[in-house]
């Protein structure tokens, strides 16, 4: 059996296990938890007309998803713009590292939900507050990994620069940047995962349009099938984002 076919078989088997567990849990909860089959029916119904727009509180799943993705990418983009330069600074200078490290360690573990009120106070508008929360929670993995990548360039590579008289600029562009790139991308991959996690939580608080809002709204409408469907969508999108960055990572990792 060839590789691609085999991986599809594994995928389907995985889903089968998931659905089986779900059905058992549904039965055990006396159908408080909707069955997978009912949920899938609603799921396909949602996707039959994903882009309808019936007013500010009633939009198709496609529009909700796009709104969330837009916020995630803006937040992730801004976070990256902050994280990478600071990461380089911290990784290349021990004094700066020693000064900023405690700051990083204090800010990093704070939950996005705790940042939200601060975001509202600063940004006034809940949409911008949500983006603020994404920026401040998702930039840490990129920053830390970038710093680590910059500070751990193998001595062998540094020796090449020294032996052949590389100028500062040449060292940075031909040795430092390419050597630290794999770790920077690892940081980005972790950051996008955090950003996606955070958007759902933040949107539940902020309301408006988005997949997180959709979850809360469906709960209020007592449609657990829609909630479960949303959970599935959130999971699948997270998987796709991760695979995307994983592919980028592979492209820039070279064997020695």
């Amino acid at each position: 059996m060839n590789k691609k076919l085999l991986s599809i078989v594994y995928l389907l088997a995985g889903f089968a296990v998931l659905f089986l567990g779900w059905e058992l849990a549904s039965i055990w909860s006396k159908r408080e938890l909707p069955s997978p089959f009912k949920t899938m029916a609603i799921f396909f119904n949602m996707w039959s007309n994903p882009f309808y727009d019936a007013g500010p509180n009633d939009k198709g799943i496609g529009l909700q998803l796009l709104a969330s993705l837009k916020r995630v990418f803006i937040g992730f983009g801004l976070g990256t713009l902050i994280a990478i330069p600071f990461g380089f600074l911290i990784g290349s200078n021990k004094i700066i590292m020693n000064i900023l490290n405690p700051v990083i360690q204090i800010l990093r573990p704070v939950s996005p939900l705790a940042w939200f009120p601060l975001g509202l106070a600063l940004m006034k508008v809940s949409d911008k507050a949500t983006i603020f929360v994404i920026v401040i929670t998702s930039l840490w993995p990129t920053l830390i990994n970038t710093a680590f990548g910059v500070s751990s360039v193998p001595q062998d590579h540094k020796n090449v620069g020294k032996a052949f008289g590389f100028s500062h600029w040449k060292y940075i562009t031909k040795i430092l940047l390419p050597a630290s790139l794999p770790l920077v991308i690892t940081g980005l991959r972790l950051s996008i995962g955090v950003a996606w996690l955070v958007i759902v939580a933040a949107e539940m608080l902020s309301g408006g349009v988005g997949i997180g809002f959709f979850v809360w709204d469906s709960w209020n409408a007592l449609s657990l099938e829609k909630v479960m469907s949303a959970i599935l969508i959130i999971g699948l999108v997270g998987l796709v984002l991760d695979k995307l960055f994983s592919a980028i990572q592979k492209r820039f990792t070279y064997a020695i």
Partner: protein, 292 residues
């Protein structure tokens, strides 16, 4: 009588001025009373790798530095390449005091040290570009092409180091060192990571490259391998064990060139030299040498 004597004296001086440089070619490398001491990061412990080393290498000579691990041979070569600063003493290369690496000295590292994200061609080009900044781009490209072809790796110029075998990677590293056209070549256990068969053919390839350059390049090589040292060198510098290592003895290798791997082992002089080096290195020769 006195007039004749005066003439004779002046003639002698002129004769000396002409003959002397021919008999004693200019020194390529001079190591003058060099010691290297390393400090630990907290500044508390000192470790002296080599102590009061004096060594002179003539232009076009091939010499090997040999000794047990930790005898400071790589450190000593580091002072020639400029990668290591002597704690005391001076090193002179090509008539100038060594203050750091320079384009007159090409280095081949033990671990190849090729940049994995660049192709073979780019690896050599980027080194030539940095070391020979002021040359026109066309000339730099020419140097890369010429040296790649010399090591027979032209067909692999667009590959990345990860796609090459150990021997090929080392040939790229050698091409890179040759490409900056240095007058001195410094090789730090360049063949240590290769299997014996590849290593053996690399010896012959290195000598071929040296020959193609009219034997003008001075070569200093650090090695553990006695046979390698004898086959390649004009002189073998045997180091004492570290720390505070010094030179134990310098063995001359007056074997004719070009040397032949097969016939050399039957040469009585080779056998004598081989014996001498085994003794100097306190090699364990049989199970009877080891105390129970």
């Amino acid at each position: 009588m006195e007039t004749i004597k005066l003439h004779h004296h002046v003639d002698e001086e002129i004769a000396d001025a002409i003959i002397e440089p021919a008999l004693n070619p200019p020194l390529s490398i001079e190591i003058k009373n060099v010691s290297v001491t390393f400090r630990s990061s907290n500044g508390k412990t000192k470790f002296t790798a080599v102590r009061e080393i004096d060594l002179e290498v003539k232009k076009g000579e091939i010499i090997s530095l040999i000794g047990h691990s930790g005898c400071g041979k790589s450190t000593l070569m580091g002072t020639i390449s400029g990668m290591v600063k002597p704690t005391s003493g001076e090193v002179w290369a090509s008539g100038l005091k060594v203050t750091g690496p320079g384009p007159d000295r090409g280095i081949v590292f033990q671990n190849y040290s090729l940049l994995p994200w660049l192709t073979v061609f780019e690896n050599i080009f980027v080194a030539v570009d940095a070391a020979l900044k002021n040359k026109p781009a066309v000339e730099k490209k020419e140097l890369v092409i010429h040296n790649l072809k010399m090591v027979h790796l032209w067909d692999h110029k667009d590959k990345h180091p990860g796609q090459l075998s150990g021997g090929m990677k080392q040939r790229v590293a050698i091409a890179r060192a040759f490409a900056i056209n240095p007058s001195i070549l410094l090789l730090d256990e360049p063949f240590g990571a290769l299997d014996a068969l590849t290593k053996s053919s690399m010896h012959v390839e290195l000598l071929k490259l040296w020959n193609l350059d009219n034997r003008e390049k001075t070569i200093v090589m650090v090695t553990h391998d006695i046979e390698e040292a004898i086959f390649l060198s004009d002189r073998v510098v045997v180091m004492n064990n570290g720390p505070e290592a010094t030179i134990k003895e310098i063995v001359n290798i007056p074997l004719d060139r070009p040397r032949n791997k097969r016939s050399i082992v039957h040469d009585p002089m080779y056998m004598e030299i081989h014996d001498r080096l085994l003794t100097l290195l306190n090699a364990k020769l049989s199970i009877d040498d080891i105390e129970d």
